[in-house]
Each structure stands twice: as C-alpha cells, then as structure tokens.
Amino acid sequence: MMSNSLKLTVPEGQPFIDYQREFDFPVADVFRAHKEPDLIVQWLGPRGLKMDIDHYDFRTGGSYSYLHTGPDGVAYEFSGVFHTVRDNEFAIQTFEFGGYPDVVSLEFLTFEDLGGGRCRLTGHSVYPSQEARDGMAQSGMEGGMTEGYERLDELLSGAAAGTSATGQPEAGKVRA
C-alpha cells in the first residue's frame, strides 16, 4: 500500500483547519462511505468508540445527529446540516459538538478522482472564532481522524475483497 497518511494543516492566526488524505480506492467508494449511514458507523472517529446514529441524511438540505460512546461509557453528541452534497464530488456541512453548544464549524469536503482507482479527499474547516479553532486543534482531532481514515481503508479493503476479483485476500479481513 502507498503512503496515504493524513496531512493536517493548522494555519497560524487563522480560524481554519485544512487536511488531505489519499485512498487506494475509487472516489465513488470513498464518497459512498461518507453517504451511507450503515458504512459511516463502521469507520468515523477513533478506534474504541461506538457510533450510534440518530439520523443521517447526506443530501443537500439534509441533517444528521449521532453519538460517539467511549469505552468509559461517556457519550459525545455531534450534529449538523448538509448545505450541499454533490455525488462523488463535494459536500458542505455544519458540525457541532454538543459539549460546546453553538460553537459550530463549517466543513468543506472535496472528493477527487486521481485515476488508477485512487482518490483524494480534501477538507477545509472554518471555525467561528480563533479560540474555537485552537481548542479543536488541541482536542486530539488529528489522532481521531488518522484512525478513522485507517478504519475506512480497512472497511473498503473488506468491501473490495468481497465484491471484486482484484481484491487482496489478506487485506480483506475487516477488523473485528
């Protein structure tokens, strides 16, 4: 596998977080893993958290709400709305952590076909204050995103092995 590590940029003095992550899977697969509730529960967030979706309607004008519950039983609620969703291409959504009510960020997600069955996900997050951005950057989000995208790789490996003759059998084991 190529090195598809998460590149996260936290610009000094600007309330943004930018990131890029490449995948050895087609853009349609990575998009679908963001769109389908049954798939996103299998990879979003760090390992060891259980994700329970209240609702998740990944389309223009839709909304979402879910709980992440840690091994200690503490639950974290996240919610937002989808301003724009264009299949296999682009999404804009709001994002709110229930622990910081009204500190809402806006997330721009671009899905890009790289050819050769690979793709790139580019994210731009905009925060309502510099303090909110700094707090998010220090919350361990980089580790959580890194693990989430590793889980997404594992999920897509399993799906590829199950549906395509080109899937690598040894990569096809989905982590229990």
Binding site: G13, Q14, P15, F16, G61, S63, G80, V81, F82, H83, T84, F90, I92, T94, E96, D102, V104, S105, L106, F108, H124, V126, Y127, P128, Q130
Partner: protein, 157 residues
C-alpha cells in the same frame, strides 16, 4: 440615526460582525426573520422584490429566496438552518448562488433591551479572507443597512 448599523470586518480574519438596535422587542424582530411573509417584505436593498421559494425556519429546515432588481436580473440565495431558538438565536448557512460553493455561516443573536427595544448581533463566517472581501466589495453593508431600515418601517406599521 440612533439605530445605525455597525459593521466590522476584523483585519485578517474571515469574519464580518454586525450590531443593529431596534425600537422594537426581540420577539418582533425575531418574527420578522422567521416568518417568510414578513421576511420577504424587508430583506435586502430597496428596489428589489423578493420571492420566497422555501423558508422553513427551524433546526434542519431549508430556505431559498430570489430577488429581482429593476434591471430584471435575478439573485438567488439559499441555505439550511442549523439552530433556531425562538426570540433568541439563529444559526444558518448562506449561499449566494452567483458565487457557488462560497458558503458562509451566519450567527444571529436577538437580545431584549430596556423600554421595548432590542439588539441584533451578527457574525458571518467566510470560508476565506478573499471570499469576505468579495462580499464586502459587492455593497453588502449598504444592502444590509437598507434592509434593516425597511424592517423598521415594517415593524412601525
């Protein structure tokens, strides 16, 4: 005018902050923002007529409205309401369809003041400094100021 719009664009930050007071209670100003029949009567600069496509002011609701100028040109705006707390707070996304995908996040806080007056405090969050500059250059300040003057006139009736 005592209730003039104060608009602030902090240097090198992708925000526009605004404060506007009204000689009317927060509930009346809130209703003019959440009721489409009222909203269409005051939003935006004068000389524009506003047609509401959809306007569902509740958490998760969507809106779209189209403004037509005397030159016959149409300008459409749309977004989703993330949070709505009656007479208190609205948080919504906002997109001018002429600048596709340049979406902003709009925070609006409604606050009662003594003597039946109220204050509306806004923060617009832009995806880049460049996007903010574009909106400011487009006459955003005068458009908002004129809209609130029309809102004063509407509430006076």
């Amino acid at each position: 005018m005592s209730n003039a719009l104060k608009l602030m664009a902090p240097e090198n930050m992708p925000y526009v902050d605004s404060v506007r007071e009204f000689d009317y209670p927060a509930a009346a100003v809130f209703r003019a923002h959440s009721d489409p029949g009222l909203f269409q009567q005051w939003i935006g600069p004068r000389q524009l007529t506003t047609r509401i496509d959809t306007f569902d002011c509740r958490p998760g609701g969507t809106y779209r409205f189209v403004q037509e100028g005397r030159d016959g040109r149409h300008h459409a705006f749309r977004g989703v309401f993330h949070t709505v707390r009656e007479n208190e707070f609205v948080l919504q996304t906002f997109e001018y369809e002429g600048y596709p995908d340049v979406v902003t996040l709009e925070f609006a806080t409604f606050q009662d003041l003594p003597d039946g007056r109220s204050r509306l405090t806004g923060r617009s969050v832009y995806p880049s400094i460049e996007a903010r500059a574009k909106f400011l250059a487009d006459g955003m300040e005068s458009g908002i100021a004129a809209g609130y003057e029309q809102l004063d006139e509407l509430l006076a009736t």
